[in-house]
């Protein structure tokens, strides 16, 4: 059941197991909702439009997506959808300053585990 108060979380990562893992992490969070996985940012804008207007959407995106320069994607997303928040969930955090500069709310290392990511998602949406 979709509750209006839940924060929709869209996952963008070229590896689909990341989507399935995050789906499970989000499954039992009452205030968060897994709103889909996308292998590339190509359909992200369309996916965002399908979400309820006014939702505090959080996009969890990998830094390394073949064929894309993710900081550029973040910058464009922030320009076109200022209310959408982006949390970069990457293999390492060496690009942290770069992604924060273009408007990401946080950069979390995949090693950090579920709790840290969930905290970052909530902080981004608040």
């Amino acid at each position: 059941v979709i509750q209006a108060s839940q924060i929709p979380v869209i996952v963008v990562d070229d590896q689909n197991y990341v989507g399935t893992i995050l789906e499970r992490w989000l499954r039992h969070q009452p205030d968060l909702r897994f709103a889909g996985w996308l292998p590339t940012p190509e359909r992200l804008e369309a996916r965002l439009r399908s979400e309820q207007e006014g939702s505090r959407i959080v996009v969890v995106a990998d830094y390394d997506i073949p064929g894309y320069v993710v900081p550029q994607v973040i910058a464009r997303l922030r320009e076109n959808h200022p209310s959408v928040r982006v949390v970069v969930f990457s293999g390492d955090v060496e690009h942290e300053s770069e992604v924060l500069e273009v408007g990401a709310a946080a950069c979390i290392c995949k090693d950090a585990g579920a709790d840290e990511l969930l905290r970052a998602i909530r902080a981004a949406a608040s």
């Binding site: 197991y17 064929g67 293999g91 995949k110 090693d111």
Partner: protein, 540 residues
């Protein structure tokens, strides 16, 4: 002839030299005038070239024709080996680019020759008919020296002599016919501006247009860029190493002043001075070779660092999956659905890691000549179907359609390795495609080979990246290529091992890419191809 880079005539300042027919006496202005008039009158040249020819008339000159020119007579294997060894930096810079141009021109008469700074030809590529024993360019071969050849149609000799690019419009009697070829000769310079070699591009006049010249200039620039990158001189080291020679010269000059007027001493001192100058030249040549080696080592070191970083990244993914699965299993102990899901994820990750390790080991085996093929007749559609099955799930995730239209052709191949090649190419075509994109697989039969074309509707390949697309461990800048960068390197080496080739083509960003794989047809004995390095191009 289409080109990735074109130039308008105003961009290109090349003196056009019209060579006299070889059978007529040279140094006769009348002959030159007749040839020129014939060219301008017959309309054999592209009309856009004509004003160019006319304007450059003032720069035309006559050539000597070497009377001792004999086909193939002057190849000196030892001199060639020594020159190729000295010119290793030039060859490694030029080989991939020349292979790329050669691939573009397949099916057309053409000859590409690369020489060292003395005009000794180090590398020749061209169509088999032109280079064959009775071909038009039979006298262009590795080991030949330009001054032993018909200078009338020799771009290398002419451009080295002129010190600038030249276009020679040659005309001569050959095999009872009056043939006309155009040779574009371009000197190749290092970062210091010193000429280190020359490039000759010869084609029949009717296939030349003004864009060809711009294209060849861009080809030479690409070689020079690679040369600069490969052999970056270190001015401070260079200068430091020359100091002892400066000192010796200074001492000799001092002695010479003291010995002024004493004929015998002056001659000896002069001789010593020449010997010192020659020793300095040899020393500097050695230093350049050493510099090239150092640069190659540095480059290898950089690649190693890139590789370690990429390997770390590639291993983090599976580790994240393993850790997350264990964590979720702990939290949902006894939950059958979670258990099944975790098993599936773990199996997939183990397969991915095994593939990664296998590819690394395969590449190492091929590079060290330890991979052996078990070649047999293989039905192409079956191999393609097997490869498609492997990438199907990923294609479905991305809504990428894979269209296969392949006749029942038989290849002479190692089935496992063939499927590995095709899987790698298909996986790339899916990975770099747009969502809802298309991958098409087609095949056609040649006289002794089968050509398989895998095209995608993806982002295409950046022109700068294209020549390096088959280099191992190389990652693009900005956007990620993904993976370790060993898939295409392995594809190329496996294709070579089969006696085949693979070429990458792309019209640029957003225009998709195409990989053309050529492997021996069933019934033809496979002969490993020359390891020519990269064969990529960016033309349509």
């Amino acid at each position: 002839m289409e080109s990735p880079v074109s130039a308008s005539p105003s961009d290109v300042d090349i003196p056009v030299l019209i060579a006299p027919p070889a059978t007529l006496p040279s140094r006769q202005i009348q002959t030159l005038a007749a040839v020129r008039a014939s060219y301008l009158a017959t309309g054999e040249l592209d009309p856009s070239v004509r004003p160019f020819v006319a304007q450059s008339w003032a720069r035309c000159r006559a050539f000597d024709v070497h009377p001792g020119m004999l086909r193939g007579q002057h190849a000196d294997a030892a001199a060639l080996r020594a020159a190729q060894s000295r010119g290793q930096g030039l060859l490694s810079a030029a080989d991939p680019i020349l292979a790329q141009v050669h691939q573009v021109l397949q099916g057309q008469p053409h000859v590409l020759a690369l020489s060292d700074e003395h005009g000794l030809i180090l590398r020749v590529l061209g169509d088999s008919e032109s280079l064959g024993p009775t071909g038009r360019a039979a006298n262009i071969f590795e080991g030949a020296s330009w001054h032993e050849r018909d200078i009338g149609c020799n771009g290398i000799g002419s451009c080295l002599e002129a010190g600038e690019p030249v276009v020679l419009i040659g005309a001569e009697h050959f095999q009872e016919a009056y043939v006309t070829w155009t040779c574009i000769g371009i000197p190749l310079r290092n970062r210091d501006g010193a000429i280190v070699g020359a490039l000759d591009f010869s084609v029949p006049n009717e296939t030349v247009n003004v864009h060809t010249w711009g294209w060849m200039l861009s080809v030479s620039r690409a070689i020079e860029e690679r040369l600069g990158a490969n052999a970056a001189p270190r001015p401070e080291v260079h200068e430091q190493m020359r100091r002892p020679f400066h000192a010796v010269r200074g001492i000799l000059e001092m002695i010479a002043r003291h010995a002024a007027g004493e004929g015998e001493h002056a001659r000896e001192i002069d001789l010593l001075g020449r010997e010192v100058a020659a020793a300095e030249e040899q020393f500097l040549a050695g230093l350049r070779v050493l510099g090239e080696h150092c640069t190659r080592l540095e480059e290898a070191g950089r690649h190693k660092d890139e590789f370690i970083a990429a390997l770390g990244h590639e291993l983090r993914g599976p580790l994240f999956a393993l850790r997350s699965c264990i964590d979720l299993l702990k939290r949902n102990e006894g939950d059958q659905e979670t258990l099944q899901w975790a098993r599936k994820v773990l199996e997939h990750q183990v397969t991915q890691m095994r593939t990664l390790v296998d590819e690394l080991l395969d590449l190492a085996r091929v590079e060290h000549g330890k991979m052996r093929l078990n070649q047999d007749d293989v039905l192409l559609p079956e191999a393609i179907e097997q490869a498609v099955q492997t990438v199907r799930a990923h294609a479905q995730e991305r809504h990428v359609a894979i269209e296969v239209s392949v006749p029942r052709l038989k290849l002479l191949a190692d089935r496992t390795r063939l499927v590995q090649i095709l899987t790698n190419l298909l996986a790339n075509a899916v990975r770099y495609n747009r969502d809802d994109g298309r991958v098409s697989v087609a095949a056609a039969e040649g006289p002794d080979h089968i050509e398989i074309r895998i095209a995608d509707t993806g982002r295409g390949i950046d022109r700068e990246m294209l020549p390096r697309i088959f280099d191992p461990f190389v990652q693009g800048r900005g956007e990620r290529r993904g993976g370790l960068g060993i898939g295409l390197a392995l594809v190329q080496r496996l294709a070579h091992l089969h006696g085949g080739t693979v070429v990458a083509r792309s019209d640029g960003e957003g225009k998709g890419s195409e990989f053309i794989l050529r492997l021996p047809r069933s019934g033809h004995s496979a002969r490993p191809a020359e390891p020519t390095g990269i064969t990529g191009d960016s033309t349509a």
